[in-house]
Symmetry: C2
Amino acid sequence: MRLDHVGIAVHSIDETARLYAEAFGLRVTERYATPSAGVRLAFIPAGGVDLELLEPAGDGPVSTFLASHGPGLHHLAFRVPDIHRAIAEAVNAGCRAVDAAPRPGARGHLIAFLHPASAGGVLIEFVQAGHP
Amino acid sequence: MRLDHVGIAVHSIDETARLYAEAFGLRVTERYATPSAGVRLAFIPAGGVDLELLEPAGDGPVSTFLASHGPGLHHLAFRVPDIHRAIAEAVNAGCRAVDAAPRPGARGHLIAFLHPASAGGVLIEFVQAGHP
């Protein structure tokens, strides 16, 4: 299990992309819009791990997060070879799954989340490459 | 510039280390106590990037963070070849430095932080390997 990306909730992908480019020399390389999930995404490679900018596209968990926390660090995503097994092992260790089953995410990946209250206050995502 | 580690504020390094080992198979490999900074640290390698657990050791920024936010994601640290230049470029782009000058951090590194309000809501740390 290795870190795949760090999710960051932002009001504006464009504004944040400009900041990361000017301040850190880091550039957005991929953008996705998934209005069904109420979110627009942009990925910024940062040396083997990506920063994933999440901007609300209508109502959804990201707009709720921004309303209560403001912009900032949102979640950690771990790349796993077998997402069903990763969920089962986390649940065995006392974590609670947000998703009853993995679901399609950006980049053609399968994803699933764990409740932060059950994982040391951190929203954890599992990512498995490709669809089964 | 690449991601070096993700800081996570925790009430107990021991409890969180147990959770990450049991739930994710990820293990603490290094521990540091820097009571002068009011913090105990533990590093968990997660594939090229580390998770840095921060537990309060007396009063300090980590105990303040825990009191107001509870445990959770705390900061992003970027590894840079020249920390003075990294700070200057971030400040030029509109970021505000927390530290007037870089200071010694864990692992013999030089570190400096940027104010989250000036960096999209994220507390950003720069890390330069070794002391100059």
